[in-house]
C-alpha cells in the first residue's frame, strides 16, 4: 500500500520547505487558510450598495439644504461643492424654529410633549405586561409571547386604520362609551384630538417597548429576587430595589426604540387627526417634501431632526455593538 498524502496533511499553499512560523501564527489567529481578500469580498457588495444608496443620499440632502432654489420653477438646485454652499435656506428655516418669528416652534414643542407622554405610557404599561409575562407567565408563557409578538405581523397601517374604523362618530368606541353612560356618545375622535394621536402612537409602538423589556426581565437571575425576599424585603421593596435598578439599561433601550420612530411619524397623525392643531415634526417633513418649492426646507428639517436624534441613536448603536461583542 502506497502512502499517499492525505487531504488533511496537505498544506494549502503547497509544500513549503521552510516554515514561516510568524506568518502561520498571524494567519491562524485571523482564521486560517482563507486568502486575505476572501471575507471582505463577502461584505463588499452590501457595503458598496450602502455607500451609493445610503451615504450618497445624505450628501445630496446636505447639498440641497445648503443649495439654492431655481428662481422660476422654485425647484431646489443642490450645490455639491462645500465651498459654494449657501446658508440662506438653513438660516431661514432655523429662524422659523427658534427666534421671534418662530411659527414652527409649537410644532417642535408639541412633538416633544407627545413623544414624552406616549413614551411614558408605553413604558408603564409595557413594563407591567413584560414583567407579568416574564415572571408569572408559567405554563402559558409561549402563548403569551405569541400574543405579544402578533402585532408585529400586522402592518402599522392596518393597525391605525382599525382605529379609524372604531373611532368614527358612529363607530363602536362611541357606542360602547354611551352604553356605559360615559360621555355623550357623539365625540368626534378623529378631528384633531391630542389624546387620540398620543394613544395612537402608544398603540403603534408599544410592542417595540415590550419586547426588549421582556427579553431582559426574563434573563434576570431569579436568585437575586429570592435573595431580596429572603433578606426581609417586601415584594414592593424587592421590585423597587432589585428588579427596577437591574432593568435600567433595558428601560433606556426600550424608550429609545419607541422614541426614534415617533419623532419621524407623520402617518399616525394624518390618519387619526389630520388637523393642523396636532402637527408633529414628521408632518412638517412630509408636507415640505410633497409641496413644490419646499425641497430645501425638507432637507434642512431632515438635518435638524438628525441632530435632535443623534445622541439617542449613538447611545443605542454603542450599547447594541457592546452587547453583540459580549456574546
Amino acid at each position: 500500500m502506497s502512502v499517499d498524502v492525505q487531504p488533511w496533511q496537505q498544506v494549502p499553499d503547497g509544500p513549503t520547505p521552510k516554515r514561516d512560523v510568524k506568518r502561520e501564527e498571524r494567519e491562524s489567529s485571523r482564521g486560517a487558510w482563507y486568502p486575505r481578500w476572501y471575507w471582505p469580498s463577502f461584505a463588499a457588495p452590501a457595503t458598496i450598495w450602502l455607500l451609493v444608496l445610503f451615504v450618497l443620499p445624505f450628501y445630496v440632502v446636505v447639498s440641497v439644504a445648503f443649495g439654492t432654489v431655481d428662481p422660476i420653477f422654485q425647484s431646489p438646485l443642490p450645490v455639491y461643492e462645500p465651498w459654494y454652499w449657501s446658508y440662506y435656506n438653513a438660516r431661514r428655516v432655523l429662524g422659523r424654529i427658534i427666534g421671534s418669528h418662530a411659527y414652527l416652534e409649537p410644532v417642535f414643542a408639541r412633538t416633544f410633549v407627545y413623544v414624552i407622554f406616549a413614551g411614558l405610557i408605553c413604558l408603564v404599561l409595557g413594563y407591567a405586561v413584560a414583567y407579568y409575562v416574564a415572571r408569572y407567565g408559567g405554563k402559558r408563557k409561549t402563548l403569551l409571547l405569541v400574543l405579544l409578538l402578533s402585532p408585529f405581523w400586522v402592518s402599522y397601517l392596518m393597525r391605525m386604520f382599525a382605529w379609524v374604523n372604531l373611532l368614527q362618530t358612529d363607530g363602536y368606541v362611541n357606542k360602547v362609551l354611551s352604553f356605559l353612560h360615559l360621555g355623550s356618545g357623539h365625540v368626534n375622535w378623529l378631528s384633531g384630538k391630542p389624546i387620540t394621536v398620543i394613544l395612537g402612537l402608544v398603540y403603534g409602538y408599544i410592542p417595540y417597548m415590550i419586547l426588549p423589556l421582556y427579553a431582559f426581565l426574563d434573563r434576570i437571575d431569579q436568585r437575586l429576587i429570592e435573595a431580596g425576599r429572603d433578606l426581609g424585603a417586601s415584594p414592593a421593596q424587592t421590585f423597587r430595589r432589585v428588579t427596577l435598578p437591574l432593568s435600567r439599561p433595558a428601560i433606556l433601550a426600550g424608550c429609545i426604540i419607541v422614541a426614534l420612530p415617533m419623532f419621524g411619524d407623520y402617518y399616525t397623525n394624518n390618519l387619526l387627526s389630520g388637523s393642523p392643531h396636532t402637527t408633529m415634526i414628521g408632518n412638517l417633513l412630509d408636507d415640505s417634501i410633497e409641496s413644490t418649492g419646499q425641497g430645501p426646507q425638507a432637507a434642512v428639517l431632515v438635518l435638524v431632526l438628525m441632530v435632535i436624534l443623534m445622541i439617542p441613536m449613538i447611545y443605542y448603536l454603542r450599547s447594541t455593538a457592546r452587547s453583540v461583542g459580549e456574546r
Binding site: 445610503f54 402592518s155 429572603d230
Partner: protein, 308 residues
C-alpha cells in the same frame, strides 16, 4: 453585591418559607399570591392590541358602505362590487405592484445582507467597523429620513433612475438590508468558526467550506429574515410613496394610506386584510421551514424574541 445572600438563598428558602408565609398571614395577605392586577392589565393589553385589528378584518365582510357599522355578511368588498378589491382596476394593479416589490426586494436584500453578515462576522479588519456602523445606522434612522434622502438623490443626482418601480426597489432594499444582517449575525455568533475550520482541515476549499458547511447551518436564519423582509416590505408605504412617481406604481399599502384619509369603504379593509393574510402566510411558511431546518433545537419564537 450580596453574594452571600445569593449563595445561601436556595438552602435557606426551604426553612424560611413557612415563616415568611406566616408573617404574611399575620399582616393579612399571602406574599406568594399571583398578582391579579398585573394579570388583568396583561390580558387587557392583549385584548386592546388585537381586538381592533380583528374587527377591521371582520368589517371587510360587511355588506354596506360604512366602515364603522356592521351591515350583514357579504363578499361585496372582496369581489362582488365593481369597486371591490379584485374588481377595481387600480386596486387590482396595486396588488400586483405590492407583490412584485416584495418579491424583488427579498431577492436582492436577503442575499446581500447574508453575505454582508458572513463577511463582517469573519473579517474584523480595516473598514469593518465603519461598514457595521453604517448598517446599524440605516436600521435605527426613522424611515421618513431614509425615504426623503432616497427621493432627493434620485430626483437630483442619480437622474437616470426614474421614479417608479426601480426607484422603489432601490429604496426598499436600502431600508430592509439590515434585517437579514442582524438575524444572520446572531446565528453566526452561536455557530462559531470551528465547523468551517474542521471542513478545511478535511480538505475543503474556502468556497466549499462556506457553501457546504456554513450555508446549511444558516438556512433557518435566512428563511426567517426573508419572511420578515417580505412582510415588512409588503406593508411599507413611507419610502415607497415618495419614490412612486405616478399613481400607476403605487402599491396597495399606499392606496390604503391615501384612501384611509379620504372617505374609505370596506374595500380598504379588504385590501388591508389581504396584506395581513399574505404576510401571515409568508411568516407561517418561514417559521415552518425554520422548524424543519432546526428540527426543534430552539423555538422560532424565542429566537425571534432574542434577536429583536
Amino acid at each position: 453585591m450580596s453574594e452571600i445572600g445569593v449563595a445561601g438563598a436556595p438552602a435557606e428558602r426551604a426553612t424560611d418559607r413557612p415563616s415568611v408565609a406566616s408573617v404574611g398571614r399575620r399582616r393579612g395577605r399571602d406574599p406568594w399570591r399571583r398578582p391579579r392586577a398585573l394579570e388583568f392589565v396583561t390580558w387587557g393589553y392583549i385584548l386592546w392590541s388585537l381586538l381592533p385589528v380583528g374587527i377591521a378584518v371582520l368589517m371587510s365582510f360587511s355588506g354596506g358602505r360604512s366602515i364603522s357599522t356592521w351591515q350583514g355578511f357579504s363578499f361585496r368588498w372582496w369581489w362582488k362590487d365593481s369597486q371591490s378589491l379584485f374588481h377595481d382596476a387600480a386596486l387590482h394593479h396595486a396588488l400586483f405592484q405590492s407583490l412584485l416589490l416584495s418579491v424583488v426586494t427579498v431577492a436582492i436584500a436577503v442575499p446581500l445582507g447574508v453575505m454582508f453578515a458572513i463577511g463582517l462576522d469573519r473579517y474584523r479588519g480595516r473598514g469593518s467597523g465603519t461598514a457595521n456602523f453604517l448598517m446599524l445606522f440605516s436600521f435605527v434612522l426613522p424611515e421618513i429620513i431614509v425615504g426623503i434622502a432616497m427621493f432627493l438623490v434620485i430626483t437630483y443626482l442619480l437622474k437616470f433612475v426614474l421614479l417608479g418601480t426601480t426607484a422603489q426597489i432601490l429604496g426598499l432594499v436600502t431600508y430592509q438590508i439590515s434585517y437579514p444582517v442582524i438575524i444572520v449575525r446572531a446565528r453566526l455568533l452561536s455557530i462559531g468558526r470551528e465547523y468551517e475550520e474542521a471542513a478545511m482541515d478535511l480538505g475543503a476549499s474556502p468556497n466549499q467550506s462556506v457553501r457546504r458547511v456554513l450555508l446549511p447551518m444558516l438556512w433557518p436564519a435566512i428563511f426567517v429574515s426573508a419572511a420578515l423582509v417580505f412582510a415588512d416590505t409588503i406593508d411599507d408605504f413611507v419610502t415607497v410613496r415618495y419614490l412612486s412617481g405616478a399613481a400607476s406604481s403605487e402599491p396597495l399599502s399606499v392606496k390604503i394610506y391615501n384612501a384611509a384619509r379620504g372617505s374609505p369603504t370596506p374595500a380598504v379593509n379588504a385590501a388591508a386584510s389581504f396584506l395581513l393574510f399574505s404576510s401571515l402566510i409568508v411568516i407561517a411558511l418561514g417559521t415552518l421551514l425554520y422548524r424543519r431546518a432546526t428540527r426543534g433545537q430552539r423555538s422560532a419564537m424565542s429566537e425571534f424574541a432574542a434577536q429583536m
